[in-house]
């Protein structure tokens, strides 16, 4: 299972760079979802990560196509982002992930040229208290009917990894389970211990 880490949205680049460095060997993809940072601050953060051992294909910035292009990393498009189709047209080589919440959205994103789908939320999560979770069967359906890698997100704890893996999903994305923990490195080890 691939492990995607999603940043908390309140990164303090100076304090947390060491945390990210320690997580690098265990992270398949680090998503920078930091709407409060400016383009220049995001680029500073990305360059600091690249200088600390992250490779460019290990990093994804949310929403900011411009920053992704200039930094040479991937972009994650969400509901409020530019459309996959338009981004693909202008940036044929950009790695594009798309956040989807239904099979219909997943199929549309794939048709428009997304490279990877982030589907959720699968379980009940504090990030989306008022939206009912999609559940494991819906995930299975998305995995079955799309050809792109599907990353499952939303309330995934280590004990649920085997259930996710059984659907054929490529990986899991974790936010609060790791980066919101007091000891993110210990938390990532709990996820690593589950061998699938």
């Amino acid at each position: 299972m691939r492990l995607h880490l999603i940043s908390t949205g309140s990164i303090n680049p100076i304090d947390e760079i060491k945390t990210f460095q320690s997580l690098q060997p265990y992270t398949d993809q680090l998503h920078l979802r930091e709407p409060n940072l400016s383009a220049a601050e995001l680029l500073d953060l990305i360059d600091a990560l690249l200088a600390q051992g992250y490779t460019s294909d290990q990093l994804t910035v949310h929403d900011r196509v411009d920053v992704a292009h200039v930094a040479g990393i991937g972009v994650q498009l969400t509901r409020h982002s530019l459309r996959v189709r338009d981004v693909r047209r202008h940036f044929p080589n950009l790695v594009i992930g798309k956040s989807v919440h239904s099979l219909a959205e997943a199929l549309a994103a794939e048709a428009e040229g997304a490279d990877r789908l982030l589907y959720g939320h699968i379980y009940r999560t504090a990030s989306k208290p008022n939206v009912p979770p999609r559940g494991i069967d819906a995930l299975k359906q998305v995995v079955t009917f799309t050809t792109k890698p599907v990353i499952a997100i939303g309330g995934i704890t280590p004990d649920r990894i085997s259930e996710i893996a059984a659907t054929g999903a490529t990986g899991i994305a974790v936010l609060s389970g790791i980066l919101s923990q007091a000891d993110p490195l210990a938390a990532v080890h709990h996820y690593q211990e589950v061998r699938v």
Binding site: D47, L50, G53
Partner: protein, 314 residues
């Protein structure tokens, strides 16, 4: 023991070292002369179009062209050195046909190698100069490199020593087939009328650089590895340049130089593993395309040489 020994402090070796250093690997670079002062220094730094490349290299070249602006930006941020990356129109004249590419990239190879060396040294990577390799020997657990100035051991060694690679590899019982192709080049300055495009025909190219010089190159003399620039070479380049771009007659000559490109018998570079040695890797024989192909070569090789490490740590 170092993780990775890189032999050759030219653009290929330095780019590979930088790529590994960015991934927190320990690296040492061994260079026969001075870093960046061999064939890399002689290059014009055009990131050539696919028309000049064999089809097998198109994908690698495309990857490199994508990586160059990113590499230049990161190096500038780390070192403050502007590597002269820019894109400009490129006019290719071939017999009756003309082809205009709207934006072809170029880099300043001298600034690039200077920036790479600076970035490496800032990261604590040592670049040992004036080192003549006398023997490379692989054992089960490590690689041993002997030289006139000392002995190094590492997990892997990558030979990126241009024409010098063949003789070095022979000491480890590995044979490759390369030959030198000498190239001569000159730099001029032309006041008043700046040239805005790269001009390229069958016998000469003119490349306007970021610092205002125009490079005129390059002769191709297979199997010639002499040092120095011949009158015949300069004459033929200047005649061809004047035919292609008449205003060049008013330019002042600033510098002439030569270099020896490493060409292979097959015409394709050696990049990657060897069949007989586990710890010895190759990156040589890039001929005219060493600058262009360096970032993609480094990307491929840094992933390859790290595999051995992952196997062994496990």
């Amino acid at each position: 023991m170092t993780d990775h020994i890189i032999i050759g402090g030219g653009v290929i070796g330095l780019t590979l070292a930088y790529s590994l250093a960015c991934q927190n690997e320990s690296v040492v670079v061994l260079e026969r002369g001075a870093g960046g002062q061999g064939t890399s220094r002689a290059a014009a730094g055009m990131l050539a179009t696919d028309i000049e490349l064999r089809e097998e290299l198109h994908a690698l070249a495309a990857r490199s062209r994508r990586l160059y602006p990113l590499l230049a930006r990161r190096l500038e941020r780390e070192t403050g050195i502007d590597c002269g990356y820019r894109e400009q129109p490129f006019l290719l004249k071939r017999k009756e046909r003309e082809h205009l590419f709207p934006a072809v990239g170029q880099i300043d190879p001298r600034r690039l190698t200077t920036a790479l060396m600076y970035a490496l040294r800032t990261r604590g990577i040592s670049i040992e100069e004036q080192v003549d390799i006398t023997r490379i020997e692989e054992s089960d657990d490590f690689i041993r490199v002997e030289s006139n100035t000392g002995i190094w051991t590492g997990r892997t060694v990558t030979i990126a020593a241009g024409r010098g690679s063949q003789a070095m590899l022979a000491t480890a019982g590995i044979s490759i087939a390369t030959y030198g192709v000498k190239g001569e080049c000159l730099a001029v300055r032309l006041a008043g009328r700046p040239l805005r495009s790269i001009l390229f025909d069958d016998s000469v190219y003119l490349v306007p650089k970021a610092d205002g010089r125009i490079l005129i190159g390059a002769t191709e003399l297979p199997h010639d590895e002499t040092v120095g620039v011949s009158v015949a070479g300069v004459t033929s380049l200047l005649h061809a340049a004047e035919r292609l771009y008449p205003p060049i007659r008013d330019a002042f000559i600033e510098e002439v130089w030569s270099g020896v490109r490493p060409q292979t018998i097959s015409g394709l570079p050696y990049i990657g593993v060897t069949s007989s040695a586990r710890r010895i890797f190759l990156a040589t024989g890039h001929h005219r395309h060493g600058i262009l192909l360096a970032p993609a070569t480094a990307e491929v090789l840094s992933a390859t040489v790290r595999l051995i490490q992952k196997e062994e740590v496990r």
